[in-house]
């Protein structure tokens, strides 16, 4: 849980990331995409912040900005109290061991020509002065931590299933004893039965190693299971954050409510129950041409004239929650 007395591990203020697309000669000319738009968030030691949103909302761009795989267009980024917003690659290197990332596609993120033991040992070779024997011992220790047997470590990535590859990716991220792991859709490429194993592994590792996660997923039920706090993103901005249980039990933003309602439940509705119509119509708008005012207003069932003109800021809503809406949903009586 968040220990508010201590300093945040990662402190993000007003972070934006813009891309320029097209060219002056292309039809439409050069245009700017605001992929991440003025995002502020804090990650406290030991917590898991879940980040949900639909594809194209900027979740992955945000993740890559946070670990400085992408340069930031505006805003500041503090890790362990140190400003890392504009650190160069060389200056970032000593921080990298403590700030690791787990990627979505366990098929694309492992070099097929390297044995698993080499893949897991690579960060140790780059960042430490360990000898070969020491490295091997550490690799076996890491393998045991994520559930890989010692003899499996001498195999090649193609010999593993998706779930096991994701374990390899996690072992690699853990190799240097990180404090923060940014996991970008780590379970969405996996089958349901294997997905549950990997979710449990994330929970076990958090307990055993005292890790802090930023856990990104589009699956709302996965985020609910994993995170202590949840942030909902829409078109580049955070529209709602709060403690996970409270947020799911009583969403304040109409978008959060619609997202939760849209998840198909693995239950057959009772006989004669009316079929609930989908709450949201249409698709998320293009970030190339975001609507004026509240970016959600064209799809929002409760939009008013105010929403079409003025963009609501992310405001404190009590109980550690914040919502960016002019007409937040009332808490249930």
């Amino acid at each position: 849980m968040s220990a508010q007395g201590t300093a945040p591990l990662l402190d993000v203020r007003g972070l934006s990331k813009r891309y320029t697309v097209g060219s002056v000669f292309a039809p439409g000319g050069r245009r700017v995409v605001q992929a991440v738009d003025d995002v502020s968030l804090c990650l406290w030691p030991g917590e898991t912040l879940g980040l949900v949103g639909e594809s194209g909302c900027g979740k992955s761009t945000l993740a890559r900005c946070l670990v400085r795989l992408l340069d930031v267009s505006a805003g500041t980024l503090h890790f362990e109290g140190r400003d890392i917003t504009h650190l160069g690659a060389r200056a970032m290197r000593p921080l990298r061991p403590r700030l690791q990332m787990v990627f979505q596609d366990p098929y694309a993120s492992l070099n097929p020509r390297r044995r698993v033991a080499d893949l897991i040992a690579e960060p140790l070779r780059v960042h430490t002065s360990m000898g070969a024997a020491q490295r091997l011992a550490r690799v076996e220790e890491l393998g045991a931590l994520v559930g890989l047997r010692p003899e499996q470590l001498q195999r090649w990535p193609h010999e593993f299933s998706g779930g096991q590859r994701q374990r390899i990716g996690i072992a690699r991220a853990l190799a240097l004893n990180p404090r923060l792991i940014v996991a970008d859709e780590p379970v969405s490429a996996l089958d349901v039965s294997v997905q549950a194993q990997v979710i449990n592994l994330f929970a076990d590792l958090r307990e055993r190693l005292g890790l802090t996660y930023l856990f990104i997923a589009h699956d709302l039920s996965v985020v609910r299971q994993v995170s202590t706090r949840t942030a909902v993103m829409y078109l580049g901005s955070i529209v709602e954050t709060g403690p996970t249980d409270a947020l799911y039990a009583a969403p304040a933003h109409p978008y959060t409510a619609a997202l939760i309602a849209a998840v198909p439940r693995p239950q057959v509705p009772p006989v004669g129950a009316p079929r609930a119509a989908p709450v949201l119509q249409g698709d998320p708008p293009s970030p190339l041409d975001p609507p004026a005012g509240c970016r959600f207003h064209p799809r929002c069932p409760a939009a008013t004239a105010l929403c079409r003109i003025t963009r609501p800021p992310l405001q404190d809503n009590g109980g550690g929650r914040a919502v960016a809406c002019h007409h937040p949903l009332p808490p249930p009586a």
Binding site: Q195, A196, V279
Partner: protein, 342 residues
């Protein structure tokens, strides 16, 4: 669906077996699958990747490359045997009486032709339509699947549509000849949840408007629960459990089905400290265990699981598991609490 044995079901699949040549002998991707689809019925087929759910339905349509796959058994559509039918006859059936919607709408549409022209082509391939009548019908279909300003969409290219709109266009195309059977293979897997809810609603509405039977293939138990009348659960090429949606989701009998349902994180209520999960991974087709293929991952497995399993006959709630009804309660707890060896 009322069970009246004298009525011939729309689609009748019996002991379907699909084999591919492997380096060490044939691999059976589908092994002895039997099921019926009644007129206007929605059959859900669930299973993880590699369980044979797509191959089953592709072979029903004769869409597997026939030089590589050997298809045995019987597939009767309206009483007519499809296996061994000449490709030209199958071609006439596909698109007109049986239509298919795939996961990725972009691969089902040609990027170089307008959406409308592709629907017109489909209509003219299967019936006599004048150009203007086909155009009017295509616009009507685009409206029926809920695309805004259908006349404008008719003129657009696939890349100008969003993912959800493309999938609607593909469904419009599939419905163009009023097919008696629509096969939808993971139709919403590539879409966002809010768009997925819209497409599922569309499939639900079309079933009542067009009267088509639907076979819905999905790995997502939630998607199937909301639409299907009956459900098949597949594992390693076999049907391990079948029944009405209510039987299956309210009182499943097979440990694999328990695991599938149990490993979905809940959206409301208390969060479990650990999710029930199925240990291990699905077996490779060239290394299937003897007897029950699920036994190595099953917390309730015992010596009985080594014996070959009987194939499930089509019809009522049934499971390919040796557990007796009296044993199920305790076995279910064991499967959901203590996971099998990882």
């Amino acid at each position: 669906m009322p069970e009246t044995p004298e009525v011939t079901p729309l689609l009748q699949v019996r002991k379907l077996r699909v084999s591919f040549d492997g380096p060490a002998g044939p691999l059976h991707a589908v092994d002895g699958v039997s099921f019926d689809v009644g007129a206007g019925e929605v059959l859900g087929v669930v299973g993880e990747s590699g369980s044979g759910k797509s191959v089953t339905l592709l072979s029903v349509l004769g869409l597997l490359g026939h030089t590589h796959a050997r298809v045995e058994g019987s597939v009767r559509f309206r009483g007519r045997e499809l296996i061994g039918l000449p490709p030209r006859e199958l071609q006439r059936l596909r698109g007109r009486e049986i239509a298919m919607v795939f996961q990725d709408p972009m691969t089902a549409l040609t990027p170089v032709h307008r959406v409308g022209a592709q629907i017109v082509e489909q209509l003219q391939a299967h019936g006599r339509w004048s150009r203007s009548a086909a155009r009017a019908r295509a616009i009507e279909l685009l409206a029926a699947v809920g695309l805004p300003s259908p006349a404008a969409q008719f003129e657009r290219y696939p890349h100008e549509l969003s993912g959800g709109m493309r999938q609607r266009a593909v469904i419009a195309m599939a419905l163009s000849c009023n097919p008696a059977l629509l096969i939808a293979d993971e139709p919403t897997t590539a879409l966002d949840v809010t768009v997925q809810a819209q497409i599922l609603e569309l499939i639900h509405r079309l079933r009542s408007d067009f009267g088509s039977a639907v076979v819905l293939i999905s790995h997502d138990m939630g998607v199937v629960a909301g639409l299907a009348d009956r459900v098949l659960v597949m594992y390693a090429g076999r049907v391990v459990e079948q029944g009405s949606a209510r039987e299956l989701f309210d009182a499943a009998w097979h440990p694999y089905t328990w695991g599938l349902l149990g490993s979905i994180p809940p959206l409301a209520g208390p969060r479990p400290l650990r999710l029930p999960s199925i240990g291990g991974t699905p077996p490779a087709l060239d290394a299937l265990p003897p007897g029950c293929a699920f036994a190595p991952r099953c917390a309730a497995a015992d010596a009985r699981c080594q014996a070959p399993l009987p194939l499930l006959p089509p019809g009522a709630h049934a499971t390919a598991c040796v557990l007796t009804p009296a044993e199920r309660g305790a076995a279910r707890l064991r499967c959901l609490n203590g996971s099998a060896a990882p």
